[in-house]
């Protein structure tokens, strides 16, 4: 009989015969009476002493700096030096469900449902698109676990890529997946399997060590060739950190790295820095260890308890730790780790999608044309290279803005804009003319076959903007409460949303004007500008709003734009460009949306004059700027200065589709 079975039998025979006393609950509950009741708020009148008053002032100041008090708004935590922190985390809840978190706030962006994953080790490919998770809930190590492949963000579910396996790790270059595999009949991990993700069927298995050791905690080294592993030798009962050139076919036991493993010691690789992460001390401190042996250690931060997991992003500057089912994130420059709300068994950074080449932009990659409003009255398609007018669309009156969408599935091309209707849905409201939203569609995507669909929007429709997925058009409602409106092109259903709260709650009274400025490429965020009563400064917001997200998931972030901010547009899902007038010029800078309150930005380009609207193409590489004097400018990444395309333009957008 195996020793495990003998032990299990002996424990069960001994312990199962024990019958605890039947009245134990009354003995326990009697002791509850000694426990003080939960505290209630004091009913004494509030009298502030000098010290208390100072504390309150500091707290209120802190609140003002971080947020204006609306509890649906996002309060962002500190970010690391350089603001490089990946924007998302893939976490596993305590009941085994994978979720995607906003790393800045800890809020859940996306959940996959199901309870099947362990948080013990998560590997994410460098492009942030695929994750490998350990699934199973047994206690036989890898023997009753498998590795799942999950497409991040697609919601398409997962598939098993290896059985009797654990500890997946992906090489920093994204080429290899390695994991531990059990030998038949054993419940330990004795083999390392390496799979070439770029070639189907290419898999290498290290020779079985014939029961002389087993391997824990596998992780790729920074060079994408070696793997590091915690090797436990049966003969000595010792565990050592080993390294083997797995790509060249080197088999365990490999080379002894010379770092302590186990309770306090090596816990992982620090991204691609070539350093290791360790844990030591009380309270436990996370260290960075530089080799080769003898290693020197530098303290990074301390945790409130012993972590069950410590993982780094590729840069080594951002670290996640799990302590007692709580996620903590730390970035270089932070004094202490930030606790994220929720109960999680584990987590891993999701690398942000690689940024497009910032030095040069291929002019040929620019969209074919510019959809422009000429003189506020006429729509036209301009050549994006030289600004020549190619396809006059039609003449209307007072067009405030324009956006379009090409449906690749049906070939339909739609233009959305607002015109005016002097009959007015505002009735006797003395305000400006009421806007009427007009939709033009073409089944073949070209102007000769335009059909015109006109729809009146109750309360007007300022600055309509169609979402890239074509599901909603956002606009500002002028009468009957200044608020955001949405209409669904298909079905024609209309919605109203408070632009400050992000939900259908009561319309904020202080809003004077609402202007949608554009959607994120993934259609999950809307950029808009608010004019508030008694405040000359324009306020720019990025919102995940009802009805395109659920009420409970709405979030509104105010961009830290100044009084001279004149326009804004999405660059990519997490970045917006904001135009700021500086004397005779307008400077356009990019801002990370997730870092509201963070002053770090990147300069993109400068335009002579005062810019009234800007637009970016879907790749975030080509920009348009319209000035108050009617100048239309084009700037592509890599250009030293913008090129003037046309005059007399009042609004513009890159043409979607062919």
């Amino acid at each position: 009989m195996k020793i495990e079975e003998r032990l299990s039998d002996a424990m069960h025979d001994y312990a199962d015969a024990i019958e605890p006393s039947t009245d134990s609950w009354s003995a326990i509950a009697a002791r509850f009476d000694d426990v003080p009741a939960p505290r209630r708020p004091s009913r004494r009148p509030l009298v502030l002493t000098g010290v208390a008053l100072a504390i309150v002032v500091v707290l209120v100041a802190g609140l003002l700096v971080r947020d204006t008090g609306d509890d649906t708004r996002v309060v962002t935590g500190p970010v690391g030096a350089g603001g490089s922190m990946p924007s998302r985390i893939l976490a596993i809840t305590v009941d085994g469900s994978p979720v995607v978190l906003d790393s800045s706030t800890g809020a859940r962006d996306f959940g996959y449902g199901g309870s099947y994953a362990e948080g013990t080790q998560i590997a994410v490919t460098p492009n942030g698109q695929v994750a490998y998770l350990v699934a199973g809930n047994g206690n036989k190590g890898c023997a009753d676990h498998s590795i799942l492949e999950l497409q991040i963000g697609s919601g398409s579910g997962s598939r098993v890529v290896a059985t009797e396996a654990s500890d997946p790790t992906v090489s920093p270059d994204g080429r290899y997946l390695a994991y531990l595999h059990c030998l038949p009949g054993d419940n330990r991990a004795d083999q390392i399997v390496v799979r070439d993700l770029t070639a189907a069927e290419a898999e290498r298995v290290t020779p079985a060590p014939a029961g002389t050791f087993f391997i824990n905690r596998l992780e790729f080294a920074a060079d994408s060739r070696h793997v590091l592993f915690d090797l436990f030798e049966d003969s000595t009962g010792r565990a050592t950190l080993r390294e083997a050139d797995i790509v060249a076919g080197e088999a365990p036991p490999g080379r002894d790295v010379g770092v302590v493993v186990g309770g306090q010691g090596w816990v992982g690789v620090r991204g691609t820095t070539g350093e290791y992460l360790g844990v030591k001390g009380s309270p436990p401190g996370v260290l960075s260890m530089q080799g080769p042996s003898p290693f020197t250690a530098s303290p990074l931060f301390t945790l409130p308890g012993i972590p069950t997991q410590v993982v780094s992003d590729a840069s080594g500057r951002d670290i996640l730790a799990v302590v007692d089912h709580t996620l903590y994130r730390w970035s270089e420059g932070d004094e202490a780790p930030t606790k994220l709300f929720g109960n999680y068994a584990g987590g891993a950074w999701i690398p942000d999608a690689p940024a497009p080449d910032r030095r040069t932009a291929d002019p040929a990659s620019a969209p074919n044309g510019v959809l422009a409003v000429i003189g506020g009255k006429r729509l036209a398609v301009l050549d994006s290279a030289d600004g020549r007018e190619q396809s006059p669309l039609d003449s209307f009156t007072d067009i405030s803005s324009v956006s379009d969408r090409f449906d690749e599935g049906t070939g339909a091309y739609s233009v959305f804009f607002a015109s005016t209707d002097r009959s007015g849905a505002c009735g006797n409201d003395p305000g400006p003319d009421v806007s009427l939203m007009t939709v033009i569609t073409s089944p073949v995507g070209k102007t000769p076959f335009l059909t015109l669909e006109t729809r009146s929007i109750v309360g007007g429709a300022l600055a309509p903007s169609v979402s890239p997925d074509g599901k909603l058009v956002a606009y500002g409602i002028w009468c009957d409460g200044r608020t955001l409106g949405f209409t669904a092109p298909k079905g024609g259903k209309n919605f109203r949303t408070d632009p400050l709260a992000g939900t259908t709650s009561e319309v904020s009274k202080q809003v004077e004007i609402v202007e949608p400025l554009g959607w994120s490429p993934d259609s999950t965020r809307l950029l808009y500008r608010l004019g508030l009563k008694g405040d000359q400064k324009p306020h720019y917001y990025v919102g995940r709003l009802w009805p395109f997200v659920r009420q409970a998931e709405t979030r509104v972030i105010e961009l830290p734009a100044g009084p001279d901010s004149t326009a804004a547009a999405f660059v990519d899902n997490d970045t917006v460009a904001v135009a700021q007038a500086t004397g005779a010029l307008t400077e356009v800078r990019s801002w990370r949306v997730v870092e509201a309150g963070d002053e770090r930005t990147r300069r993109l380009f400068e335009v002579p004059g005062r810019v009234t609207s800007i637009a970016a193409d879907r790749a975030g590489r080509h920009f348009l700027a319209v000035t108050s004097g009617g100048g239309l400018y084009r700037w592509s990444r890599g250009d030293a200065a913008p090129t003037k395309l046309a005059d007399g333009v009042t609004a513009a957008a890159w043409l979607s589709g062919p």
């Binding site: 032990l7 605890p20 326990i28 013990t120 824990n216």
Partner: protein
Amino acid sequence: MMADMAAAGEGRSELVRTDRDVVLAEIHREHYPGLVRMACLLLDERGAGEEVVQEAFVRVYQSWSRVDAPLRYLRATVMNLARSRMRRRLVARRRVEPASTPSLSAEEHLVLLDDQQEVLDAMRSLPRRQRECLVLRYYLDLSEAEIASTLGISNGSVKSHASRGLAALAKHLEARA
């Protein structure tokens, strides 16, 4: 009615208290025997096992606002209290008299085979972490992840401690054979 209780100033504490009473009573009904048996395996003393588990329930009650998973918290508390109890007992033994074999009742002697008693004695002689990992794994049948979170250690450490414990156990029993 619950809303009425919550609305009344005095009722708020009662509501909170009632919730935790109900949850803890439910856990007690389902898991008390298992927790006591686990504590007995660690402590080799039935009375002490019951004391430790009862104390753990009171501690969880006191810490209710911080507890997100009561059963896991309870298990971890039992482990900690059993550990403290063992430490105190070792100190007491050092002061009073040389270590003596833990006494079993006549009934326990009858039901346990000699071989099983040897296995248990050997298990109790293991270092603390190894002993805890083996009890949680082979008696409570917890997953490695659950053991890791109960003991606040990594999965890899659970595997190493369990493997070391089993190897030491086998060696010990071989030496006696």
